[in-house]
């Protein structure tokens, strides 16, 4: 039986305060979504327009580079109700925003601090393993960042896309 579009993905936030079971319960009840693979230039306005087509958006929190405080390619979208969030999982995940295929996944809920990238250079972890050139996400990963993180490849399975 193939995965349903509203099923939980395999990603679990390593920084979640609580047990795995608690995290999964939060994910199953959540009305907050993580949105990834955004361009650094994608705006809150664009996100709002697209996600409003699934329901009433309660708020959007842009993901920011920890040091530069500029968008670093992800965000949280929160709805008022679960069914509206499910609509986004069913109909927006895997479609395009700002010409990029975006990923939508369940999130346990926004807490202050979670809007910052967890990579060593301030952005998302995934950007520090990237080998391709991605104009919307800063081009090439800086060599320094890349080499710094090559040792931690085994953490790769836990990074979000």
């Amino acid at each position: 039986m193939s995965a349903g579009s509203i099923d939980l993905s395999s990603y679990r936030d390593q920084h979640f305060k609580g047990s795995r079971a608690e995290q999964e319960r939060s994910l199953r009840e959540s009305t907050t979504l993580y949105v990834g693979n955004l361009s650094f230039y994608t705006t809150e306005e664009q996100i709002h327009e697209l996600f409003s087509r699934c329901g009433e958006v309660r708020r959007i929190v842009m993901g920011l580079d920890k040091y530069k405080k500029t968008p670093c390619g992800f965000c949280f979208v929160e709805y008022y109700t679960r069914p509206e969030a499910e609509n986004a999982m069913r109909y927006v995940n895997g479609t395009r925003l700002d010409d990029r295929l975006i990923r939508v996944d369940w999130d346990a809920g926004f807490i202050e601090g979670r809007q910052y990238g967890r990579g060593k250079t301030g952005g998302q972890v995934r950007d520090e393993y990237r080998t391709d050139y991605d104009a919307g996400r800063g081009g090439y990963v800086t060599l320094m960042a890349f080499s710094k993180n090559i040792v931690h490849k085994e953490d790769a399975c836990h990074r979000r896309c």
């Binding site: 306005e45 697209l50 395009r96 925003l97």
Partner: protein
């Protein structure tokens, strides 16, 4: 076996016995599951033919008809209702079982009749129709006599003579009967031709006298060329008449029972019991009428299988089947697209055209689509991914057709078309052959064609950015391009020197940047004189100071102009100031007007800010409605975003009323339960109770009363909102008609059409809530002295549930 069961130790007696019982039960469960699986899958595509699969299944089931009778009955009736497109496979199965076991056949008929009657009582209209169809097809399998079926159909047509019931009830019963005829028409024609003819005559009489006032409200296009928007019953009737003309020779439906004719015709038939449709009850809601959406005919499709004609029964069957696939799979868009493209009869029809037509039929369905718009948009994208060489072309052709006919498209559909097209473009790099449409540039910008492009560009702007939109359009389209969405802050502009509020505005900027409190803001604003614009000061609130509002609102929102979050944070932080300034409706309208002055070039910002102001109750719904119809907004009146604002306002009010109503019902239920359970708390029946009703859960009578009052107040507000909206519409439309008459001009201008369209949109988009006030609207506003065009819109709306 028997011996083994008897041998048990004295000590393990109970345990062993329970174990064996459990094993027996789980064995039974396994067999039931297996039976269910076999039955459900008998119709699936396999290496062997359906006929041989059926034969095999019958021999398996035969043995289990004794032990698993009930389970089998239930599975079969579920198949009838949930897989209507496999109707003939399961009727054949029942037919073969009936030939082997007459008693079982009779039990199944009874069971199916029960299913049918229950569906009618529970208003499960599709389930009822599919049950009826199944019963009808059982005639083809010699399970039910043609005579008794005709009796049932006649009884159903009797409903068409009931006169104090809603027309939609009569309509449904006629529709249900008509939609069984493709299956059983031929058999009835062969065996009971004259009874069939009488039945059809009765139907014809009904169809000729029923009212079709609702028709125009449901049309997608107001003009019938090139494809008429037929009323659904009229269309089906035409299709049945054509089928009759062809002597009921129907070739689309697969009929496995034909292969088993020699077996089946030996079987004894059953007679249906007397079935009386449940009488109408006030709580019954019948399906609304609809229009058959057509956008293609065979000339649109390239060489290949022909698109069945509009009045062919095949068209009806194919469309019904495709709509059902969407219903079954709409929650998983990839599956939905795959299932649509895997349509069982895909080699016989131009499948992609049929699919695209059916999807747009749902998207443009009036009054509202079955699912939210994005469902259809995303399924279309999946379809394009699965058939990238062909489907995008069909879709482009469809878009072209829609654009060409946009002059006569109703406003609700126009909006959906704009939203769909901009969304679709955003998934395909905004690539489109705009030059091919440039003849529209010669038309007045209020004409639907250039307007469509303007609105699409505005929506594309929201999904991208200004430079992108400018670059994607040919230069000829310059006048339709949206302006850059920048705030228009007059207190930092060239004219700032001559404005009264500039100094205070600048003070405010400094203070806010230094993180001052709301109280300090109020103090700074005190320095502004009251502009004294209102001559009737005694009528308005003394604290209403337009200049204060002007300086505060525009300055604050300009400071928050960086993003939505910045603006929302600003509004929240200074909520107190807003509240202090917005005490009257006039003041609230002033706030809205100042939001507009600042943000008129950023339609999306307008929408989200006003939404926020409503949410935190700085402005009332009625203020927003009044503001939309105000003189200041005349220039914006035909722009989509303004109506986006009106509809979100109405929706907020509706949501509020619905929420209070549900809460009240819940509370009433809990109250009633608590009352009854307190009397029988002594009987200790179930050891496990799901949720113990604690003292806290039970609402007091006082609480319920308070909830009733709250709901009552909300209903008053809602009614008032609708009255304001409709009254304003009537005023401006009447004004326009009178002026046109005086000036000797044709009133049928673009503006007039847009405005009537917007009026209609309010009725249709919110029909469930508006219905509550139909009486009041008729008495107070939509009176007979009104111009007939305005009155028509109201009457068509009322006809939807008549």
């Amino acid at each position: 076996m028997m011996n083994r069961r008897r041998q048990h130790d004295g000590d393990d007696d109970g345990y062993e016995h329970r174990n064996r019982k459990r094993r027996r039960v789980s064995e039974n469960q396994e067999i039931e599951d297996r039976l269910e699986s076999l039955i459900l899958r008998v119709g699936e595509r396999s290496t062997s033919s359906v006929e041989s699969n059926l034969e095999g299944l019958v021999s398996v089931l035969e043995a289990d008809l004794g032990t698993f009778r009930l389970k089998i009955l239930r599975i079969l009736s579920e198949c009838a209702v949930k897989m209507p497109e496999k109707c003939t496979i399961y009727t054949t199965l029942v037919g073969l079982l009936n030939a082997k076991n007459y008693k079982f056949g009779g039990e199944f008929v009874d069971h199916m009749v029960k299913t049918f009657k229950e569906s009618l009582k529970l208003c499960r209209w599709d389930a009822a129709r599919y049950s009826l169809r199944f019963l009808a097809d059982l005639v083809n399998c010699h399970v039910i006599s043609a005579t008794s079926l005709l009796q049932l159909l006649d009884t159903m047509i009797d409903v068409s003579n009931e006169d104090t019931v809603p027309q939609v009830r009569r309509d449904w019963y006629v529709f249900a009967v008509l939609s069984t005829l493709p299956w059983v028409g031929r058999d009835l024609y062969e065996k009971k031709e004259s009874s069939l003819e009488s039945l059809l005559l009765r139907i014809e009489v009904y169809l000729n006298k029923r009212s079709k006032k609702h028709h125009n409200a449901l049309r997608v296009w107001s003009v019938d060329a090139p494809h008429p928007q037929e009323e659904y019953l009229d269309c089906l009737w035409a299709q049945i008449r054509k089928l009759r003309q062809d002597n009921w020779a129907e070739k689309h439906i697969p009929r496995p029972y034909l292969a088993f004719d020699s077996i089946l015709c030996e079987a004894l038939q059953h007679n249906l019991p007397q079935i009386v449709p449940p009488a109408h009850h006030e709580s019954y809601e019948y399906p609304m009428p609809s229009v058959v959406y057509r956008m293609f005919d065979y000339t649109d499709c390239p060489d290949g299988p022909n698109l069945p004609g509009a009045h062919s029964i095949e068209r009806f069957l194919i469309e019904e089947h495709l709509h059902h696939i969407i219903e079954m799979h709409h929650l998983e868009r990839k599956d939905c697209a795959a299932q649509l493209l895997d349509f069982p009869y895909k080699s016989k029809i131009p499948l992609e055209y049929c699919i695209v037509e059916v999807i747009f039929a749902e998207l443009f369905h009036m009054p509202t689509p079955r699912y939210i718009d994005i469902v259809y948009g995303s399924i279309l994208i999946e379809l394009c991914k699965l058939h990238p060489a062909t489907l995008p072309q069909v879709l482009a052709q469809a878009t072209e057709i829609l654009f060409m006919r946009i002059d006569s498209m109703n406003t609700s559909c126009f909006d959906r078309f704009v939203n769909w097209f901009s969304y679709h473009l955003s998934n395909f790099k905004f690539t489109w052959s705009w030059e091919e449409w440039d003849s529209c540039l010669l038309l007045d910008t209020e004409h639907p064609r250039p307007k469509f492009i303007q609105e699409v560009l505005q929506k594309c702007l929201r999904l991208s950015y200004h430079q992108r939109i400018t670059e994607m359009m040919p230069e000829t389209y310059a006048k339709l391009l949206p302006v850059p969405s920048q705030p228009n802050y007059k207190y930092a502009s060239e004219e700032a020197g001559s404005l009264t509020g500039t100094q205070v505005a600048h003070q405010l900027v400094v203070a806010i940047r230094q993180k001052c409190s709301p109280e300090e803001v109020i103090n700074i604003l005190k320095e502004l004189p009251n502009s004294g614009e209102n001559s009737d000061q005694e009528m308005s609130d003394s604290s209403f100071n337009p200049l204060k509002i002007d300086v505060f609102v525009q300055t604050l929102l300009n400071l928050g102009s960086k993003s939505f979050s910045h603006s929302f944070a600003a509004v929240s932080k200074f909520h107190l100031v807003f509240k202090a300034l917005a005490e009257s409706e006039e003041a609230q309208i002033c706030i809205l007007h100042n939001v507009f002055e600042l943000w008129q070039n950023h339609q999306q910002m307008m929408v989200v800010i006003i939404d926020k102001l409503l949410k935190i109750q700085i402005v009332d719904c009625s203020a927003v409605a009044t503001w939309i119809f105000s003189k200041e907004m005349t220039g914006e009146f035909t722009k989509m975003y303004l109506w986006e604002i009106l509809h979100l306002t109405i929706k907020k009010m509706n949501k509020h009323v619905i929420k209070l109503s549900n809460e009240l019902n819940d509370a009433k239920e809990k109250f009633a339960k608590a009352d009854s359970s307190s009397s029988d708390s002594e009987d200790e029946a179930a050891p496990k109770r799901k949720k113990p009703v604690t003292v806290v859960d039970k609402p007091t009578e006082e609480m319920v009363e308070r909830m009733e009052e709250k709901l009552e107040a909300a209903n008053v507000d809602q009614k008032r909102l609708f009255l304001i909206v409709f009254q304003r519409f009537i005023m401006i439309l009447s004004e326009h008609l009178v002026r046109s008459d005086t000036d000797g001009r044709d009133p049928d201008t673009d503006w007039y059409r847009w405005t009537v369209g917007r009026l209609q949109q309010v009725f249709l988009m919110h029909h469930e809530q508006v219905q509550k006030y139909s009486g009041t609207l008729e008495t107070l506003l939509f009176t007979s002295d009104l111009d007939s065009h305005i009155l028509e819109v109201f009457h068509q709306f009322v006809a939807l549930r008549a």
